[in-house]
């Protein structure tokens, strides 16, 4: 053998290259194989070239990354300085350096973005069901499996002899114990996995280009040090240090001799040291804190939980400071990471910046994007965080306030929200970062969640929440938060400490503490096809915010954040006031409710001579969405189905919008309850699409019909009883809120009924009011509200009043009307459906006046709307008027005969406070700008108003004449004082009171006054049997109107002092008002009724039968009184060419014969009385009566005038 120099036939290296002797068998043994391998000479690699990583692919195992990572960590720590000279990094060092960087990147992600990290355990076994894990050997399994390449099983196979190292070391050797590892994801992208030899290693392929990780460049993690700021680096230092200390736990659990982890420890130390030096050098101003707190992280499973899971506690002092050491040993443990939502399961919801929320009420998280635009999000706090920050939530969102802050940046490209919670821990601001996916980046949440009322107080018990994102719908939903137990703020928890939600309370344990319920629901099965859905909650304790959730694929929805009510706000008008402490002493007041046919008014009075109507303010507060009270467009559903947003200065309409029957939780109960049973409607911008006999239809929700019940009071059918209850209860709720807001509490509820209302209906109303008081008690007080009872006593002191009584009470106490001994006051209250006529004279006693007679007549303002309903020309005229004057009444664009009544009221409401506009309307009627419109029809409206008012004044003349000649009054000094003449004061009230203005506005004052005076005198002098005809009886004639309190007279009258009017003991019942009626009594005796005889119910029952109508003659109808009125009226028509009066000629003579009986017997009240009488068989149960004269007038108007004018 040669002794010459020899060289190894090996890859170039510095270990066994030369100098060995020849071997006897031509082969040498390598004693230190690792030394040789590590000393192989390799060129420097250009690590910026992506192909270089292909070297990793040369390692013949899919586990190469795990394996090479452990190699890389065993290599020396390659510093940033060394990396600056890549040409000096020989051989594999470049690759190892790159792998070290990846390792650092992986750890940095865990440190900084823990909330975006998810971990998934993968058991490396075949999924085949045929495998018997207890009995099959590995070879059996290989034989059995369907696809030997099945990834999990196949990769497990490739561990070969190492499989045990990757298995669960806690199991017995006999147990089925397949290898497993845990995938580490960032934003759901797999970035690495656990490995027993290096703890973790990066994935072969991970694309984080969408994740905005600063140190992810060209396909892999780079050394993060140069990319991060000092705060972030400090956090990494703390994380890596903690990790290093936890490696021990891992090692002891594993128990195997993993010397390799020594290199991991060393590496971690070097990493920490390098970061610290970098911070010192690059951020000299930065104050580095040697101790820090890490994000709570519990996602890894055994055994890597021992090293990667972080649960660093901090401690909270009693005064709310955070410390990282338990200095006194008994401080409360606290984990700051748990203060924010879990970013793995939650994505935050973006709120529409313009309309999504109310900045004065709702706490939301603002976040600027790259372009500087601000976006808003629900607060990503956890239940624990809510609890922790609730008292200072506003300060938390203000970085300049307090020692903690919650800030966020929105990454519009990746549609993620980067949230930073900074806490001052041991005098050092410590940030915690989380990154959330945004649930709805392309469609910011713009829904409405509304609270009512706009205050909270311990002694207020009725809170409502309306939500257009029902808690049980698919997608984004809203769940209300309740105040803490016994408080008006905070967030209520259940017994397990979770946030309390009513629908999750399967056993309604809450009922012990408070009552809350969903009263209007969303039922997916029933309503999923609807274009829009909503739900309404009631609660006895305040709502303090909302939780937003989103549907997920799993059973539970994910929380998307919270919106809390601000405790203090810049604009009190938009926030919810906290009345705790200043509502303990409430002033008791009397409350009057005038539930009118068209309008309802409430008033109050107290002992301090305060007497006012109750203005219903908009007490809605949007926690999501914004109040958009634009009357130019049709009302939004939230404006219709919840408390109203129009402030009502005088009265509200007696109209109720139903919720769809399917939406009411318990219709049997709910229908009569406030809000659930319907919502009083104040809106005038309704999208009315039609009407039926009893209700209107509107399209409040697209493609869905909503019913609106109007003229509620006169709906006699039993089925409407619940609606009336619901309406009045809601009104009562409004009233209570208004009173409570002004530190008042109702003591007495005073109410009234129309004079013409039958007794049974009055009784019904009394019952309704009592039920209202029994069920709606929002104010917790020791005062029980009394209801004034129905009573037949004359004294008005403590009983329900008729509307006439109330009006009189109003007129004389507050209305500015005085009655002297030579004065007669005629009060005319023209309502929506009925009108009352009152005659008052001076009372010689202590009262200011004496009520001598009272008539109720079903002729009122509704006649106008009937006309409008019939007349296309009128409707066109009105539309034109609305458009020209920009009245914001879009509903009127679609006025039809079905909707005319409701809409006419709307129109008149708009005009009632604007005299100029009113005159303009009459002028328009008189002389329509559109010449194609039939003037007969437009002016016909003026003719109708003149007819109604004239007829009532004519009847007043009859009544006064009757009073003066009534023998019963012979001893009445006050009456006698008037025999020679009197001053007549006519006071119109009520919504129809305005009708007296029409003529004046349309023609002129002189004509108007003359007309009414003539009507009065005609009535006064109409009786043929009374002499003398006295044209001079009137010392003066005046019509006194007080528009200020228009429509509120009854209400005011209810709450006005009751000691101003005395009802005359002999107050006359309604008179016949016409000559020639004959009544066949029970004895079949024909008794001719005089015009001033009282008319009684039994006679009206027999109208046209035993009560024989006078027959017509050659000239006229034979109704002498009526003919006199007609003459006056037609003179006016003829003189001013109001319409073609010849139209009436042919049908006037026989109208009574042909129509009157039928007309009377179609009166709703007549029918109701007759029905009751039929049922009971008791004649006395027919209680309804009305002057036959007034019936004649009403019949003529309806059947002759209106029909003839509006033939079309």
């Amino acid at each position: 053998m040669s002794r010459k120099e020899r060289t190894a036939v090996l890859a170039q290296n510095t270990d066994v290259a030369t100098g060995m002797p020849a071997s006897a068998d031509a082969w040498h043994t390598i004693p230190q194989i690792n030394n040789f391998v590590n000393s192989i000479d390799l060129d420097a690699l250009n690590m910026e070239k992506g192909d270089v990583y292909s070297i990793l692919t040369a390692v013949p195992s899919p586990w190469v990354r795990a394996y090479m990572m452990s190699n890389a960590l065993r290599w020396r720590y390659v510093t940033r300085t060394q990396k600056e000279k890549p040409e000096e990094m020989q051989g594999m060092e470049g690759l190892y350096s790159a792998l070290q960087d990846e390792f650092k990147g992986l750890l940095s992600c865990l440190a900084l973005y823990s909330s975006r990290i998810s971990v998934q355990k993968i058991v490396l076994k075949y999924p085949d069901k045929e495998i018997d894990v207890e009995n099959d050997t590995e070879i059996d399994i290989l034989k059995k499996v369907y696809n030997v390449y099945d990834i999990a099983g196949a990769f497990g196979n490739m561990l070969f002899e190492q499989a045990g190292l990757w298995s669960d070391n806690r199991k017995n050797s006999e147990d089925f114990n397949p290898p497993y590892f845990q995938l580490i994801h960032l934003d759901n992208v797999v970035i690495g996995a656990t490995s027993p030899s290096s703890l973790a290693y990066p994935a072969a392929f991970y694309d984080l280009s969408e994740s905005d990780i600063e140190f992810f460049k060209r396909g892999r993690f780079r050394d993060p040090i140069g990319f991060l700021n000092a705060k972030q680096l400090e956090k990494i230092v703390h994380y890596v240090s903690q990790l290093g200390s936890q490696v021990d736990n891992y090692e002891s659990a594993i128990g195997s001799n993993q010397a390799i982890l020594l290199s991991v420890r060393t590496f971690l130390k070097e990493f920490v040291q390098e970061i610290k030096e970098h911070i010192k050098k690059t951020f000299p101003e930065y104050s580095f804190n040697e101790s820090g707190v890490l994000d709570y992280f519990q996602k890894f499973e055994y055994p890597f939980d021992l090293v990667f899971n972080m649960d660093m506690k901090i401690y909270k002092t009693e005064d709310g400071r955070y410390l990282n050491k338990n200095e006194s040993g008994n401080l409360e443990e606290f984990n700051p990471d748990l203060l924010l939502l879990d970013a793995e399961f939650s994505s935050v919801v973006m709120l529409d910046a313009a309309n999504g929320f109310n900045p004065n009420l709702s706490t939301v998280l603002p976040a600027k994007d790259e372009k500087g635009n601000t976006h808003y999000f629900a607060l990503p706090l956890s239940a624990k965080g809510l609890n922790e920050f609730y008292p200072e939530i506003s300060d938390l969102l203000d970085v300049n306030k307090g020692d903690k802050s919650l800030t966020a940046e929105y990454d519009s490209m990746h549609k993620t929200l980067n949230v930073c919670l900074e806490l001052n821990i041991s005098d050092h601001v410590t940030p915690f970062y989380k990154r959330y996916k945004v649930t709805n980046p392309d469609e910011a949440l713009d829904t409405n969640v509304i609270l009512w009322p706009n205050f909270v107080a311990p002694n207020w018990k009725n809170y409502y929440l309306y939500s257009e994102a029902p808690h049980n719908r698919k997608g984004i939903k809203v769940l209300p938060l309740y105040a803490s137990n016994g408080a008006v703020a905070g967030v209520r928890r259940d017994t397990k400490g979770n946030i309390y939600h009513i629908h999750e309370d399967k056993v309604p344990a809450y009922k012990r503490d408070f009552n809350s319920e969903i009263i209007v629901k969303y039922d997916e099965k029933l309503l999923k096809e609807r274009d829009m859905n909503y739900e309404i909650y009631f609660s006895e304790i305040p709502f303090t915010g909302v939780e937003i959730r989103n549907s997920t694929n799993s059973l539970d929805d994910s929380c998307c954040g919270f919106i809390l009510m601000k405790s203090n706000s810049k604009d009190k008008n938009e926030s919810v006031s906290n009345y705790t402490g200043n509502r303990n002493e409430l002033e008791p007041v009397d409350v009057g409710i005038d539930f009118g046919s068209t309008n309802t008014t409430a008033t109050f009075s107290n002992n301090r001579d305060e007497h006012s109507n109750i203005v219903i303010n908009n007490r809605r507060r949007f926690i999501l969405g914004k109040e958009l009270n634009d009357n130019n467009v049709f009302a939004e559903p939230n404006e219709i189905f919840f408390f109203q947003n129009d402030t009502t200065s005088k009265s509200i309409k007696s109209a109720l919008v139903y919720h769809d029957y399917l939406r009411i939780v318990d219709p049997e109960i709910g229908q009569s309850m406030p809000l659930a049973g319907g919502v009083p409607n104040f809106e005038r911008n309704l999208n009315l699409i039609g009407g039926q006999e009893n209700h209107l239809l509107l399209e409040a929700i697209p493609n869905e019909e909503t019913k609106l019940l109007y003229d509620l009071k006169w709906k006699r059918e039993d089925k409407y009883l619940v609606n009336k209850k619901a309406f009045i209860k809601s009104v009562w709720l409004y009233i209570n809120a208004e009173l409570f807001a002004t530190q008042k509490v109702p003591k007495n509820l005073l109410w009234s009924f129309p004079t013409s209302m039958p007794l049974d209906l009055r009784k019904t109303y009394e019952g309704i009011y009592q039920e209202v008081l029994d069920t709606v008690k929002p104010i917790k007080s020791n005062i029980n509200v009394n209801l004034t009872p129905l009573s037949t006593t004359k004294s008005m002191a403590n009983r329900a009043l008729s509307e006439s009584e109330a009006v009189v009470n109003y007129a004389l106490s507050s209305g500015g009307v005085g009655i002297g001994s030579k004065s007669i006051m005629v009060g005319i209250d023209i309502g929506g459906v009925t009108s009352d006529l009152l005659v008052l004279i001076a009372d010689p006693g202590e009262y200011r006046a004496k009520l001598m007679s009272q008539s109720s007549v079903k002729i009122a303002a509704n006649k106008l709307s009937q006309a409008i309903g019939k007349s296309e020309n009128l409707r066109e005229c009105i539309k034109h008027f609305v458009r020209v004057n920009k009245l914001n009444l879009p509903a009127l664009e679609n006025i039809t005969s079905d909707t005319s009544h409701f809409l006419t009221n709307l129109l008149f409401e708009v005009m009632e406070d604007d005299a100029k506009l009113e005159r303009s309307f009459y002028r328009e009627l008189w002389n329509p700008e559109n010449e194609q419109l039939k003037r007969d029809e437009t002016r016909g409206l003026i003719a109708i108003s003149a007819y109604i008012t004239g007829l009532l004044i004519f009847h007043a003349g009859q009544s006064i004449r009757s009073m003066l000649i009534n023998e019963k009054n012979a001893d009445n000094f006050s009456v006698q004082e008037l025999q020679d003449g009197f001053h007549l004061k006519i006071s119109p009230f009520g919504k129809g009171g305005k009708l007296f203005d029409w003529l004046e506005s349309a023609i002129n004052e002189a004509v108007s006054t003359e007309y009414y005076k003539t009507c009065f005198l005609a009535g006064f002098n109409a009786p043929e049997d009374v002499e003398p005809k006295n044209e001079d009886i009137l010392n003066s004639f005046s019509i006194i109107s007080n528009p200020k309190n228009l429509k509120m007279e009854v209400g005011y009258g209810l709450t006005a002092p009751r000691n101003v009017v005395k009802i005359d003991d002999l107050m006359e019942a309604e008179i016949v008002g016409e000559s020639g009626y004959v009544f066949r009594n029970a004895n079949n005796e024909k008794i001719e009724l005089k015009w001033n005889d009282p008319i009684v119910a039994s006679q009206i029952f027999e109208f046209g039968e035993d009560l024989v109508i006078p027959e017509s003659n050659d000239k006229d109808s034979g109704l002498t009184h009526f003919e006199k009125f007609k003459t006056v009226y037609l003179t006016l028509i003829k003189d001013w060419d109001i319409f073609d009066y010849s139209l009436l000629k042919s049908s006037t003579k026989d109208f009574a014969y042909t129509s009157l009986e039928n007309y009377v017997k179609n009166d709703e009240d007549w029918l109701a009385g007759a029905e009751l009488k039929r049922r009971t068989g008791d004649d006395d149960d027919f209680l309804f009566s009305c002057s036959p004269f007034l019936y004649e007038g009403m019949c003529f108007l309806d059947d002759v005038i209106i029909k003839n004018i509006y033939k079309s």
């Binding site: 036939v9 068998d25 192989i40 390692v59 594999m92 030997v148 990834i151 070969f160 190492q162 996995a193």
Partner: protein, 578 residues
């Protein structure tokens, strides 16, 4: 007595196998049965084709000596292992004296459901989300999807996974499919191993590179693949302790031009020789640390081509110079264009197998005592100084035995190797040069000297093809000869100018120069002053060794034996020896 099994995987494995077959042809395994499993992923691979051709000719040539071969087998069977003589000469025998059984396994990656990793692993089946994540953890995105039809393209982290499971799958399929069981050559090979392990032991030796695709992928897993396959065959009832694994770990030793950007763009995954060195190194790191390798391989023979004077062969230069076809000079990811020149290191690899196989160099007892892989390496003498060092390879560097009682009258194994090499070179060159590339002409001349051999056309053709592959053949594309195996080995050292000729076994460079058609063959021997007189001397020597066999004409085997005996009795010039 152990039986020999060889696994050759991938392009380098194929060329190592070519060396191994040449060794068999040169008499290195006299009368031994050797089962060879050829593993390839690329059906079209030229190296594979060349190897298969070589084996075919080998078998054709060998068919002439059926009786002789059978006699040897009978002898082995009756005498058993103990009767094998331990003297050196028993390790070298006559030409084509080993019996080779070839088994081929090529996973079929041409089908729609096998064409790449993603479909093969049925990533979309079951929990596809998890499957994709796992895929991403292990494999880069392009790796997951590149077509496997041309092999693993140096992606051994994928290849090892695929090859292991491909073999397991083939055995599973054979075991469960009666139609397939007869077709599976892998199954037959495994059955042979299993049988041998149950009777005397099986020595399985793996040949392949650490830096390429198929070989580098297969070598690390072949031990478990074979053992697990045996277990599947036996229903996991039998321990497989008597399978002894050895293998070569070949580090990078050749280079080719980096692929163009367009090529990379088109194929996405392309083997790049610029990383071969690093690939080899990283693979080596794995080999020396991986518990599976350390526990399953008894011996691994590390070979590399580093250090001063170990110049790498530029395959592009070779192709350009000798194959003269531009198309073929381009980087090939595989396929019919992947044909690299043979290299001395491959011969070393083949001799590593011999070292592992032979009881004399690796005793069964020593194998049983190895608990963790023993790593071996080879050294060569170097001449020259500093910058101009030249490695020199001697015959004893191929195979030698420690022989304390060497009888000077008994030739050493290396001497016998030398003689056999010289014999085949001589035969090739003399036919190539002196007898117009025609064996028949040579035989006709011999007839004149009353040496009669009956060789049929198939054999004649096989010999011609074999010898041209061994020595050189005409280049159909150009004027130059295409160097044969031995000349390609010679080029390992002499591909560069101005390197000493004597580096290669001391053989005369004139004989082995690529352009030389063999005219200088006589310079290998101390025969005469020119080719003609030397040829006469050679035939004369043959005649003296010729032993007539009565009436029957002698066959090709006899002819080769005669040739060998002639060489043995001819002085070989080897100036560098000693």
């Amino acid at each position: 007595m152990s039986k020999f099994f060889l696994v050759a995987a991938g392009g380098t494995g194929m060329r190592c196998l070519q060396s191994f077959v040449q060794m068999c042809a040169l008499g290195m395994y006299p009368n031994r049965n050797i089962s060879i499993l050829l593993l390839e992923t690329d059906e079209q691979n030229k190296d594979k084709k060349n190897t298969e051709n070589l084996l075919k000719w080998y078998k054709d040539i060998q068919s002439s000596g059926v009786d002789r071969k059978q006699a040897a087998v009978d002898k082995m069977t009756t005498d058993g292992a103990a009767s094998i003589p331990s003297d050196n000469s028993s390790l070298v025998g006559g030409f084509f004296s080993a019996n080779i059984d070839l088994y081929t396994f090529v996973p079929d990656y041409s089908k729609d459901d096998t064409r790449n990793f993603v479909v093969l692993s049925q990533v979309e089946r079951g929990n596809s989300e998890v499957n994709h994540k796992l895929a991403n953890i292990f494999y880069e995105e392009p790796v997951q999807e590149f077509p496997l039809a041309h092999g693993y393209r140096a992606r051994t982290h994928l290849g090892s996974y695929l090859m292991y499971h491909a073999m397991i799958e083939d055995i599973r399929k054979a075991m469960s499919d009666d139609k397939y069981i007869g077709k599976s050559q892998l199954l037959k090979f495994i059955q042979q191993v299993q049988k041998a392990s149950a009777s005397g032991g099986a020595r399985v030796f793996a040949l392949g590179s650490t830096f390429g695709g198929t070989g580098a992928s297969s070598i690390p897993v072949i031990t478990r693949a074979i053992t697990d396959s045996c277990k599947i065959l036996t229903g996991d009832m039998i321990q497989m302790e008597n399978i002894y694994y050895g293998g070569v770990v070949l580090s990078a030793y050749f280079k080719f031009s980096p692929p163009s950007d367009a090529h990379k763009k088109k194929d996405k995954i392309v083997a790049q020789s610029e990383f071969f060195k690093h690939n080899s190194a990283s693979a080596l790191m794995y080999y020396v640390n991986d518990p599976t390798i350390l526990q399953t391989y008894k011996k691994l023979y590390l070979l590399g081509w580093g250090g001063d004077g170990f110049d790498w062969c530029d395959t592009d230069m070779y192709k350009k110079k000798y194959l003269s076809n531009d198309e073929e000079a381009k980087t090939a990811t595989g396929g019919k264009n992947q044909e690299n020149p043979c290299h001395l290191i491959e011969l070393f690899g083949a001799f590593a197998a011999k070292h592992f196989f032979e009881e004399q160099s690796t005793s069964q007892k020593s194998l049983d005592n190895i608990l963790s892989t023993e790593f071996k390496y080879k050294s060569l003498e170097v001449s020259g100084k500093s910058d101009s060092k030249n490695p020199i390879v001697h015959w004893e560097d191929l195979f030698s035995l420690p022989s304390p009682n060497t009888d000077k009258n008994v030739k050493s194994v290396s001497e016998e190797i030398q003689e056999n090499f010289a014999g085949l070179i001589c035969l090739s060159a003399i036919i190539n040069s002196y007898y117009d590339k025609s064996l028949n002409k040579f035989l006709d001349v011999l007839k004149r000297y009353n040496m009669f051999f009956e060789i049929d056309d198939i054999q004649e053709e096989a010999v011609s093809d074999y010898l041209s592959t061994f020595y050189s053949k005409e280049n159909p594309n150009g004027v130059k000869e295409i160097p044969g195996w031995i000349k390609q080995l010679y080029l390992t050292f002499h591909g560069e100018m101005n390197t000493p000729r004597e580096m290669f076994f001391g053989l005369n460079g004139d004989v082995l120069e690529a352009d030389n058609d063999g005219i200088s063959w006589w310079q290998l021997f101390n025969l005469g002053k020119d080719e003609k007189s030397s040829a006469n001397r050679f035939i004369e020597t043959m005649r003296k060794q010729y032993k007539p066999s009565g009436k029957n004409a002698q066959g090709l085997g006899d002819f080769l034996d005669l040739l060998r005996a002639t060489v043995k009795n001819t002085t070989i010039i080897n100036t560098l020896r000693n």
